[in-house]
Symmetry: C2
Subunit: 144 residues, 2 copies
Amino acid sequence: MAPPEAEALAALRETNDRFYRAFETLDLAAMDRLWLHDPHVRCIHPGWDVLVGWDDVRAAWERILQNTGWIRVSVTQSHAEVMGDVGLVGCSENITSGREGDVGVAVAQATNLFRLTPDGWRIFLHHASLAPVHVTQPFSGVLQ
Amino acid sequence: MAPPEAEALAALRETNDRFYRAFETLDLAAMDRLWLHDPHVRCIHPGWDVLVGWDDVRAAWERILQNTGWIRVSVTQSHAEVMGDVGLVGCSENITSGREGDVGVAVAQATNLFRLTPDGWRIFLHHASLAPVHVTQPFSGVLQ
């Protein structure tokens, strides 16, 4: 049997994955279940001012999800850490999104903080900021 | 006497203040004392990729401090929270900086994470991202 620490870490990673699945499926109800409903939760979207409190954070997610046609977020460089009942996941978000025929790519660096509750890990802070985009030549290694 | 929790919170705020004083005084030795020297520390400067590990984080601070003529960081909207031996300070950094006659202003949103060690709070994560700058008319309230 996995020790409790390894279990907590696995559950933390899974909760972080569910956050990005909720984003990809534009699922506000899933966001509701993932976040701590607390006046101190903090959310900083790329280039935005901080949003404080679940009401404001939820309202912004509602607008973002409504105004996104489709989005894929591929998570890389993921680092997860459990410190008591606080969980940290830092990761790169490799984003492709589209709306009405326009498609854009972006890379963001994310810091996600979680609290362990009787119902599992819940997000209480999401901070994302734009990072440089590296444009590559696909399959160049295969063709050489 | 203040309860231990209030003491820990006061010490956390003070360490966050010392971080910005170290930045303003371009004091790398103070940064050395403020950060956890650990391979897992994370630092994301505005628009940058994440830096992982104290060696890379320190090298970047060294370059930033060397390439800054002068900098003032006025911290506002500060929120501090102690969760066991983890401390969180979220704040707005209102930055004025200059180098060789050029002066610039910027606002960044920061998420700073600290661990409580036998030597006090030490930073293990700094995430800063640019936020909108509100240009104001100084003293307009006074003159009306």
